[in-house]
């Protein structure tokens, strides 16, 4: 019971934190929040389904560019574009994942790296004359919510973290649904899952598409937060960061992934004092954390089923 109060207290303090943090730290928290949602959507593919996916920035990019193009060309309000960005990313994910979904482990990994690089190169080369090349797209408007323009770091803090809270809730429900259990089965033993009648290709594809849908929506948030997007923000290295967040936090664990984003996005900011050496310290921290917690910082607890409630 005590533990429950503690968690609520932490949440409360956290939600009040913009009141006593300065703009910089609020913005750090915003970045952590964005990465946490992205990592959660990747976690669904990588952690829950066990697909080695290192190209998540591609879906993020598709979402962000959809928002940017439609907003700057047709002036559609940002908030209306949220589902639309998600759907575009999901369609894109379906098209690219369809032929490669049968690839195993590391082969899937390299193909997803290939996808994220192809997307980046396409953006740089101003594909269809829409993406603005390496300049990117600027002048994306801010979200308007009931007459309030979301633009200050504090506004974004609530915007992002409420979105994160909703994502946590939905991903938690999904994970414990029949569908989520099937994905988990695929992760633990693909052959056995197939043997018991799980259509693995279909389930994997759905996992991919759902993860991409969510990443596309985060793309919308990111685009309206930055107001300018350019291909540099969607490199292979970005995907590597999401990947590391999931594995380091504890693959398959929602709390672990959120904690992982605090570490991987927060730490480099704490290390700013080291100036040039900060990335070195960051790399060392990654190795050390992995050695001491190979299963991740907060691995998911084993699934428990109440015997009385089965059937």
């Amino acid at each position: 019971m005590n533990r429950k109060y503690l968690i609520w207290a932490i949440c409360l303090i956290f939600f009040l934190s913009p009141l006593f943090l300065n703009a910089y730290w609020v913005d750090v928290l915003n970045n952590i929040g964005i990465y946490a949602i992205l990592a959660l959507s990747l976690n669904f593919i990588l952690g829950d389904t066990g697909l080695f996916h290192m190209g998540h920035a591609a879906f993020f990019a598709v979402g962000a560019y959809t928002t940017a193009i439609l907003n700057t060309m047709y002036h559609i309000p940002i908030l209306f574009l949220i589902p639309f960005s998600g759907i575009t990313a999901a369609i894109f994910a379906y098209l690219v994942a369809r032929p490669i979904i049968h690839l195993r482990g590391d082969y899937l990994l390299i193909v997803t790296i290939g996808i994220v690089e192809i997307v980046r190169i396409a953006l740089v080369n101003n594909i269809f004359g829409l993406t603005g090349g390496s300049n990117g797209i600027f002048g994306i408007s801010r979200p308007h919510l009931f007459g309030l323009i979301i633009r200050r770091p504090t506004h974004f803090f609530y915007y992002i973290w409420i979105f994160l809270a909703v994502s946590v809730f939905l991903f938690h429900r999904l994970r414990n649904s029949r569908f989520g259990r099937a994905l988990n089965y695929i992760k633990e033993d693909e052959v056995a899952a197939e043997g018991t009648g799980v259509d693995i290709a279909k389930y994997k594809l759905i996992a991919f598409v759902l993860g991409a849908f969510w990443a596309g929506m985060v793309g919308n948030i990111y685009a309206s937060k930055m107001t300018i997007i350019s291909p540099e923000s969607f490199t292979f290295w970005e995907s590597v960061i999401y990947f590391c967040i999931v594995i380091l936090g504890g693959s398959g664990s929602i709390t672990g992934v959120i904690l992982g984003s605090f570490l991987l996005i927060g730490l480099p900011e704490l290390f700013r004092e080291f100036a040039q050496a900060r990335m070195l310290v960051f790399g060392l921290a990654m190795i050390i954390m992995m050695i001491f917690r190979p299963q991740g910082i907060l691995p998911p607890p084993p699934r428990k089923y109440n015997v009385d409630q089965i059937n």
Binding site: I113, G114, I118, A277, M286
Partner: protein, 301 residues
Amino acid sequence: MELFFQQLTNGLAIGGIYALIALGYTMVYGVLKLINFAHGDLFTLGAYIGFTLLTSMNLIGKIGPLPTLFLFGIIIMGLVGIAGIVLERIAYRPLRSADRLAAVVSALGASIVISNSIMLIYGARFLVYPHHILPNFTINLLGMKIPFMRIAMLLLSIILMIILYLFVQKTRIGTAIRATAIDHGAARLMGIDVNKIISVVFFIGPALGGAAGFMVGLYYGQLNFMMGWMYGLKAFIAAVIGGIGNIPGAMLGGLLLGVIEALGAAYISTSWKDAIAFFVLIIILIVRPTGILGERVADKI
């Protein structure tokens, strides 16, 4: 047509380097099933050690350029190989029984550490190898002008690869490496010291990468602490195209990738060059899910 062959030779020279680095990936993968993302940075390390040796010791005046380069090459391979062993001890061995992806994250961390250490030691500016060490003349071959050094480089890569291939196929240690790659447990039961074999692999792979770094430094002359990332990624693709874990596959994949890039740039578009390379990779994997020479692994039931 002349242009085609000219571009083909350009691609082969680039591909030779990719192949040499890809061997390191493929050997490590074969034995540990680990994608060693720090491999590209060990390549960078080789290039920088070469720079230090060339600028600090004036051996060329005393024993002539060729013996000097040979000697330096051996020293670099030794040092980078030792760095590889140390890397395995620190960053990978504690994770051997853990989930495979944990080691991947550790490898990414190691990559950041190595490249940033190089930046802190040598500075972020581009470094340049001393000029005029290598003979610089072109050979006329069937109407094409090919710089001699490009041919020499390709030959040297192929020689190193053949030595490695013979080593793995014909010697006792090579047999032990192959046995370990198939099954750690069974190899241990046959009396093979698996830890030692893994150390050997982590010596040879990075040593070849270091040699490639030295060659790139000597020929292209220009170093930067980030150079390993791009080469490493390309070499990784090369290893996968050929079938990761397979030594002839890495050679084939490297040369093929070099040629695809060159021809893609020549006949389609230079700015889409890397995208073309990735596209071909994806097509190859869709058609042959384990690479060109990769073996179909039976599912464990």
